[in-house]
Amino acid sequence: MNISRRKFNKNLLSFLPAINMISGSGSGLMKRKRQSIVIQAEPGSFIRINNDVNMEKVKKFLDKGIKKLTEYSSPDEGWRSMFSPGDKVGIKLSCLPGKPLSSSRGIVKAVIEGLASAGIKENNILVWERSNRELQNAGFPLSFKGVRVYGTDQYAGGGYSSEIEFSGSVGTCFSKIMYEVDALINIPVLKDHDLSGISCSMKNFYGAIYNPNKFHSNNCDPYIAELNAHSIIKKKLKLVICDASRIQINNGPAYYPKYSKNYGSVLMGTDQVALDHTGWQIIEKERKRAGLISLKDAGREPEYIESAVKLGLGENRDSKIDLIRI
């Protein structure tokens, strides 16, 4: 698709107000900027078998979602608007609880195909987590669909930068992978969290720092928000695809069969706050359905989401979130 200079500038100007949210870095620009968009697959769309979902089905959902997110008529154009062929892309997974509640391989494969359609070579894609052990426990071998798969811990010396980075009150060191890649795709799993209330997109970046244990005070608030306000995340994160094929509605973040539910959905968006807010509503609804008390009554309402709004990271008002169901 050709974009004229005038149209390009117009798009650029319309894009600026959304600059605090995730920005596109591809050859084109994402068109749709009117408000925060969350794309949600209808619950029950993805049946989880053998701890995995069907890659073809996910790919179809992602293609539709990318078109909605970017307003391009073809998914390839949509992917290209977000990623440039020369980009080194890191796909951050969520693998702590092992296979039953980790990022599904089917979703990761579908994302890799999407990136391929943007012209990104396999050797420029890195699927990563905190450790090799976590990846392997979640069913990701060290070579997966031709792309590199490894944990931060595979680097000598622990895998974290020696530079202290600040965003808010607690200092940290980021995984070297965060510096190595040009763009990030976050594939978290939607689940209850014993401290923060829920774990969705923003919480997953605790797996990118060397001292997550120092970010857990006060129900992780404002620490989750402050971490995600760091420029390295804000600049590099391009897309979030949240695995809600199986969610955990209580007693997270570890897998607890009693409180897990085959929800069969996937969420997609570029505004982490809107995604976390949407994920929270899902968890609350399913908790109510299961006869569990609300997260507020449980003393762990995810207040970090409001803190993230205050830091300008995104939108949590239902009236301002365009929730599109596919």
Partner: protein, 370 residues
Amino acid sequence: MKRDRRNFIKLLMQAGVASPSFMLMSPSLSGNVQSVPVEAKYYEKLGEKKIKCNLCPHECRVADLERGTCGVRENRGGKYFTLVHSNPCAVNVDPIEKKPVFHYLPGTKSFSIATAGCNFVCKFCQNWEISQKRPEQVKSFTLSPAGVNMLAKKRGCRTVAHTYSEPVIFFEYMLDCAIEGKRRGIPNVMISNGFIQEKPMRELCKYLGAVKIDLKAFTEKFYKEFCSGSLRPVLDTLLVLKDEGIWFEIVDLIIPTLNDSDTEIKKMSKWIVKELGSDVPLHFSRYYPTFMLKNIPPTPPETVLKARKIALDSGVRFAYVGNMISDAENTYCPSCNKLLIERVGFHSSIKGMKKNKCKYCGEKIPGRFN
């Protein structure tokens, strides 16, 4: 006392100050080894695989697969484990003066160990590269409690020091080392922030030889803003140490504008004298910019000396300065003011003592000097 340049450098070299402490690389130590997790001693099960840690005042509630704020204790299926037992990442031979401990076997070497992790986040931590990391992020070794004490003896160390990071978080390892040390006649020394609950501290006191506590300031505000901790539990620990009758010393790192006011130092000194007694040595150390606190210049030596004077005027009988060269590192008899122990850097030599008394006036000097 005057020192010429040659004599000063000679003393420094004797003390090992001119070069960093060496890391022991004995064949009996193997690098990059993660030890087998050992069940933690102080925690309670809360049901549904959750636990509450009762080791330090943070009292972390930890869900399955998560870790406490220390980063070295993990909930695995409802059981809480320490990941650092027998897994030190730092193993050195230091003069005991480096801790600093001045009244406990001065002039001797201390076999010094640490694991990764800490229950504080002191923005001025000198050892943040191990204290703020998780065990899997540092190079570590397998070294059993028996091995620690055996190596200490082999290296001519009179004591084992649990130091550098925060020994509270490797409690079970320290305890086992101390039990083993007591059996072998090698007292173990705890160099700590004192942020520990009463029960584990009292258990440790049965086996430790001495304790040094960092009293980082005398305000809750400082502890909250610069350490992610709180003051009251540290004071409570000091009271427990007094009650247990174990030898202990206190260190206060003086940081310009943050904890260096005359009022605060006076208040701290008065509290120490009233609650702990005038015989507890109080060290004032000079701060240097590091870690997350780099925008404040090093403490002027005169500020540290002034703090010492305030302490002495408040009734503390043994007040010292540290991280700087000064005669105020020496021990003087509180009765006749004669020089008893001379110190330069980490080197000390006993000048005026006979057993544990001043050889000039017979004043008893508290501590263990034989």
